[in-house]
Symmetry: C2
Subunit: 127 residues, 2 copies
């Protein structure tokens, strides 16, 4: 995934010039994503472990849940909620996420059912 | 949605005979569901409010997030994680959920993209 120059500038500006609350308080402009990832056959558990390991300590992440598909033994669902799209995009540059992407690539067969969302509220959004 | 007799019996048994920890501790046998709901045109906000209102205080609910689809102005994504399928099934009998289902029915045009999952872990699972 590429991040264009304007997005990078806005992330930089937000991180250096604004109080963190201005990045998008919970309930105002959240950003969400969900999708299904297919593991290479037999590699789902290994891929799940990598996803869990890399998801700790991501700034602005309100929810990041990985789940096994109940009917497809190779499929994983990832559902995410962030306090802003900027924080989501910036997470892709975090060292642990970059390392996980490199390790995960050979374990991934493909993606499907991807959707972008604007979370509105509910139970389990980290404050 | 109907609940068959065997499921009802297992819920009743769990609720009356077992310590609540035996219902499925977080991390052992979680249950998840996600899906897209289409609102009757113009009714998405009203439907979102009903979903949020009814989701408070559901025993065993670890995550229940409602979100607007970013590209379809009538669509809502609901993603759920529960400490057990029994708690999910039992939630459908809660008075506030029954009341919300009755109020929501005329606002719902349909469902699509439904999947059942087994959540494994991540950020934002209520403890």
């Amino acid at each position: 995934m590429t991040i264009d120059r304007r997005t990078m500038l806005s992330v930089t500006a937000a991180a250096t010039m604004l109080p963190s609350a201005a990045l998008g308080a919970k309930g105002t402009e959240m950003y969400g994503m969900l999708g299904r990832m297919k593991a290479v056959p037999g590699k789902r558990d290994e891929l799940l472990a990598l996803l869990l390991e890399s998801s700790a300590g991501m700034p602005g992440c309100l929810s990041y849940i990985v789940a096994k598909d109940a009917t497809d033994s190779d499929a994983i669902w990832i559902t995410e909620a962030w306090d802003s799209k900027e924080h989501h995009d910036a997470s892709l540059k975090l060292p642990q996420v970059q390392a996980a992407i490199a390790k995960a690539r050979p374990l991934i067969a493909g993606f499907d059912s991807r959707a972008e969302t604007e979370p509105v509220g509910g139970i389990g959004l980290k404050s």
